[in-house]
């Protein structure tokens, strides 16, 4: 097992290097690094030239790439062209925000998805199963940005108006209310509820269908018949012998989904003005802030690679039929 992990880690180094080349090329091809200064009407041609020289933009591309890579690896991610702040703390803050939002949504979706899928599989073709299936189809077909806008409208405007409240029950943008200092759990949750609902709709649909299919397969297995034949109670058969095995494929999926959180919440974060990785990317992209985009893409890639590894390892650990050494 240890050797396997080591080998996978060593193997991911060339993958990361190739990714970094792609990231660098893609960023350079899609952003104009001197856009920020060129848009300034008072900047003279000479100043633009000096700006480019300062950033090393006129060096050969290979040299620029190596320079950037060296800086990135040693932790010097540079400063944002727009806000002039250091990039590393900015990305770490955004990442933490995204992980809070994505983590919460994952917990909610998993709980709901597994419960719904389990119940559906045990009561196949029941009324509940029928409703859950229809719900899953609607959830999967829903344009989630539209759903987010509707929720904002209902909770932010209509509900407050109908109930005659002065402040809404849940907030439709940001992380904390202005004027609150320190950490207020209730206030924080009030800001998180709507984004979490939006993120969960599709994921619950996917997880519940996945769980249902996986559980139906397990329910037909020989070892479940064996468990029953041994005289175990139905509850033990279903939960301990059945569900635990049905969860294995979902675990892999969850690991992959968590890895995607770093770069995957773009829609929800933009609509709810949530300062996570997604909104950071859209903002940086809008301003052509290429140092931010470079580091952002690398962090996202690292996340995806690490969680891919975790998914494979989890699969191996949970399914004893796969042996390592």
């Amino acid at each position: 097992m240890g050797r396997y992990v080591l080998r996978r880690l060593i193997f991911s180094i060339p993958v990361l290097l190739i990714s970094s080349v792609l990231v660098f090329t893609a960023t350079r091809a899609t952003t104009d690094p001197s856009a920020a200064i060129r848009e300034n009407p008072r900047a003279t041609a000479e100043q633009v030239q000096r700006y480019r020289a300062d950033l090393g933009l006129d060096d050969p591309p290979l040299q620029q790439y190596l320079h950037w890579l060296g800086d990135f690896v040693t932790g010097d991610w540079g400063t944002s062209l727009i806000s002039n702040r250091e990039i590393r703390p900015e990305i770490i803050d955004a990442l933490l925000n995204s992980l809070v939002l994505g983590g919460l949504a994952t917990v909610v979706s998993l709980t709901l998805g597994i419960s719904i899928g389990l119940y559906s599989s045990l009561h196949k073709y029941s009324k509940f199963d029928y409703i859950a299936t229809t719900g899953a189809f609607v959830g999967l077909s829903m344009p989630i940005f539209w759903f987010a806008l509707i929720l904002q409208l209902v909770f932010g405007v209509y509900l407050t108006r109908w109930l005659g409240l002065t402040t809404p029950i849940v907030y439709t943008s940001g992380v904390t209310s202005p004027g609150t200092d320190g950490f207020h759990l209730v206030d924080r949750l009030q800001h998180l509820i709507l984004p979490v609902i939006v993120l969960s709709v599709q994921v619950v649909a996917v997880y519940s269908r996945y769980m249902r299919a996986s559980m139906l397969e397990v329910l037909q297995s020989d070892y479940l018949r064996t468990a029953r034949a041994k005289g175990l109670r139905e509850r033990v058969v279903v939960l301990r012998h059945g569900m635990r095995n049905a969860l294995i494929p979902i675990t892999t999926q969850v690991a992959l989904d968590v890895g995607a959180i770093a770069g995957g919440l773009i829609i929800t974060e933009t609509i709810f003005d949530y300062p996570g990785m997604g909104s950071l990317f859209i903002e940086a992209q809008g301003y052509g802030d290429y140092p931010v985009i470079l580091s952002w893409l690398m962090v996202t890639v690292i996340f995806v690679i690490v969680f891919n590894l975790i998914a494979d390892l989890l699969y191996a650990v949970l399914d004893p039929r796969i042996r390592y050494a």
Partner: protein, 344 residues
Amino acid sequence: MPDATEEFQRRQALKEEAKAEGSLHDIPLQREVAAAADVPGAQLPPGVDRELADAAGAGIVIASQRELAWRRFKKHKAAMVSGVVLIIIIIGSLAAPLLTSYTFSETDVTSPLQGPSMKHYFGTDTLGRDAFTRVLYGGRISLLVGFAVAIIATVIGATIGAIAGYYGGWLDNLLMRVTDLFLSVPFLVVLILGSLLLGPGVLDTVIILSLFFWMYDARIVRGIYLSMKEKEFVEAARASGASNRRIIFREMLPNAMGPIIVASTLAVAAAILTESVLSFLGYGIQPPTPTWGNLLDDARNLAVSAPWLILFPGIAILITVLCVNYIGDGLRDAFDPQGQGKSL
């Protein structure tokens, strides 16, 4: 020391193979069906319903797999209803000029931001343009993108999957690693960068989306080819001197059509959704060409004053995608009766 990823992939491949084999064999021979139906109360092969067997026994002996699939599809009520609704939506957007007396860019400054009425079914926007007309015309682009992407992605994916599955070995390994790579990139980010590179036109959007929609077809088709290539009919074709190309596309491809059709139907739904997201974020197709996505982007800041501008394009997307997904589910049941109830 066995490699865990290889083991994992082998298991996945086996699963896919098993599925693929299932879908090839579970459509029972018509003879069997007829024979079983002759004996009252006889045990029918799994996946065959009584009515079908009776029909077969009553003289309709020759039915192609396609006919059988169609009969099964007709039983899926949601899919049939969805088919009708989708046809109405498609005809509606194609026949837009006949259904409305406005054009999608015609402004009327005297009646901006009016709510839905008999004059303007879906209300008007800031420039007094008729929202119903814009949703109809928007549907043209959204549907066009959805179908075009699904077709192109299916062609790319099926070709790659067929080559990987048929030849196997290092070529298979290489193609599948590339597929994995495409599957693991942060999807939306890459689409945004791609649209910045290519541009915001309809054709550009179709190209970008197609480049990131072929992986599912590739995997499915590979699984089928992997299990099919040792079959007698392939052997026979090879013995009679058919070229690899002929075997891949003429002999084997027809046998893989069921799962391919299902996968590409679901791709239509996903492509329509993705196009709307991209246009909504401002990186897809740009106004004045209306699409359901950029209509929503336009209306975003008007949500409070003109909620109808948000409501209708969103419902259009939801209903269309829902219909396509249900049709995909119906097709899956039709082509793969064993897998029923394991949809999505």
